[in-house]
Amino acid sequence: MSFASHDSATRQSQGEAITAEEIASSGAKAEDATARYALLLGDDALILSQRLGAWVSRAPELEEDVALANIALDLLGHARFLLTYAGTAWDKTEDDLAYFRPEEEFRSCRLVEQENGDFGKTIARQLIFSFYQHELYSRLVQSTDTTLAAIAEKALKEVDYHQDHAAQWMLRLGLGTQESAQRVQAGLDSVWSYVEELFTDVEPITELGDIAVLPSTLREPTLNRLHQVIEEAGLSIPDMSGAHGADRSGRHSEQRGLILAEMQVLARQHPGATW
């Protein structure tokens, strides 16, 4: 690959240079269940990247255009590793999986599918997801599957920056002006009901043992840290009673189809073409 995403000179987060192409050519072949796990993690990253990419040229500050694009690019990188690795189980490429899989076969959580809303809502979603992902990847580095462990190790360094970015903004917005506090609180309220889904033990994770990280084990550490930042920002922790009971089995949000329609449209107009 001549232009890895890390070629960009405005990159802010640090990561080792492993590429999707290296995973594809490494000869590693995922077991079916491991591949489905990688797909689930990759779908989250891909959809959130797609969402954040829409901020480019629309951010409140030029610096934020750079920061949000940077985070979107990191997530896209994670998605490419994970989808490429998943594809090794079924002889599929990352693009087969991203562009030619139907809506109901995606495993993304509803949190990442939520609309960007205003900057407050985007930051609320970023806070939750980056904290969750940090807890997840900091355990996945111990995976007995060496490819997943390597992907997690690279991703973790980047997610470090993502959670720092989200937490900083949570404080600025929470303690900034009355309007910003109201908006970011509304953002938290709007996405909070999708938090529980992140911690639900679903297949194939339940059958993977030390290869995967059991989502329910992430619940307490993630929520503790989230509560801490939200309180520090002078905001209140939304009520969990309205939470949607959740698993990732196709009971996805209304938005998923729209996200994919846009993402897949051009590739599907030219099936079999190379770009």
Partner: protein
């Protein structure tokens, strides 16, 4: 940017109350400035410089910055639909770079005493100019290839000599920017190459994009030398090193072998090698259209501006919050310090 950079030339009129001293200082300043220009040295923010030099630079650098920012729109519009994940990643990195270019350039303009908010306001109000190429629509994926190859390509030809611009911060910003532009041009060329050698539909898409972007890309160098009033002075000040027409010629000469390698053609029947000149001759460009677009009547002039305004408006509460938070923090620090001293 540190606040002292915002100060203008050291004319201490109020302090000295002595016009003669001020005049002497200005004369010495002009002398030193002329020397620096003559020996091809760099003018730095604290150096004395003629007001007209400062004004001309502010205009050029801020227009350049605005172009980077507005240029994010046509390409940003394709991030969501990029046809492969690899292309999506490359495009995202590229558009992010353009935002970075905007930041470098606004910073360079700030060293000339122009506050960033003022530049943003000028773009917002529609008073500021930016490269008219970005008022054309990016309709197809091939346009992303054509923009990279032709628009970033023209930017490189324009900007490489600017790395030696006499104003230090501008020249140094251009050095960083040029490194990235060559990656931008290469990715555009690769997109077009894949399309040109792909299916029939892809090939046509590529040719159509080149047909539409070629003329406007040539116009990125500005009007013909005869109609470019600021060029001469700019060259004497060693901001510009070559005329618009010289750069345009250099660009055309560069494109011809490249378009052959792409397996595409340039939409100019008059394009022909001229043995005598050692350059390609090329046909006249549509300058009426060019000036119409500059005056704000480009196909998407209004849309681009509205997009920019909407983003500014919708982000206002965020910027206010960031300022308020920074103020609280500073007050908190002051209080802590007072408490320490009190103890």
């Amino acid at each position: 940017m540190s606040p002292e950079n915002h100060q203008h030339a050291p004319l201490h009129l109020a302090d000295e109350g002595d016009a003669a001293t001020a005049l002497a200082e200005a004369e010495a300043g002009q002398h030193r400035f002329d020397e620096l220009i003559a020996e091809d040295s760099r003018i730095e923010p604290r150096d004395w410089m003629p007001e007209s030099y400062r004004k001309s630079l502010v205009r050029q650098v801020s227009q350049h910055a605005h172009s980077e920012i507005i240029g994010m729109q046509p390409e940003g519009n394709w991030i969501s639909r990029a046809p492969s994940l690899k292309r999506k990643a490359i495009l995202m990195a590229k558009v992010q770079d353009e935002a970075g270019h905007g930041l470098y350039l606004y910073s360079a303009a700030e060293t000339l005493g122009r506050p960033r908010e003022e530049m943003y306001d000028q773009l917002y109000s529609g008073k500021a100019k930016y490269s008219s190429i970005f008022n054309y629509p990016a309709r197809t994926w091939a346009d992303i290839g054509a923009i990279g190859w032709l628009v970033d390509g023209a930017a490189i030809v324009n900007q490489v000599p600017l790395c030696r611009a006499s104003y230090g911060p501008y020249g140094r910003a251009m050095v960083r920017i040029c490194k990235e532009e060559s990656f931008h041009q290469r990715q555009g060329w690769e997109i077009l190459y894949s399309l040109s050698h792909g299916t029939e539909a892809q090939h046509q898409m590529a040719q159509d994009a080149v047909d539409r972007f070629y003329g406007p890309a040539l116009q990125m160098f500005g009007p013909p030398d005869g109609d470019s009033p600021n060029s001469q002075q700019s060259m004497e000040w060693k901001i510009k090193r070559f005329t618009n027409d010289e750069l345009r010629q250099r660009f055309v000469d560069m494109l011809v072998p490249q378009v052959e390698a792409l397996g595409l053609t340039l939409p100019d029947p008059e394009l022909k090698w001229n043995e005598e000149r050692g350059h390609y001759d090329f046909g006249d460009l549509d300058w009426d259209e060019f000036f119409a677009v500059i005056k704000g009547n480009g196909p998407l002039s209004r849309q681009r501006l509205e997009h920019y305004r909407k983003a500014r408006d919708e982000g206002a509460w965020v910027r206010e919050a960031a300022v308020a938070y920074a103020n609280h923090q500073a007050q908190g620090r002051d209080r802590d310090q007072a408490a320490l001293i009190g103890a």
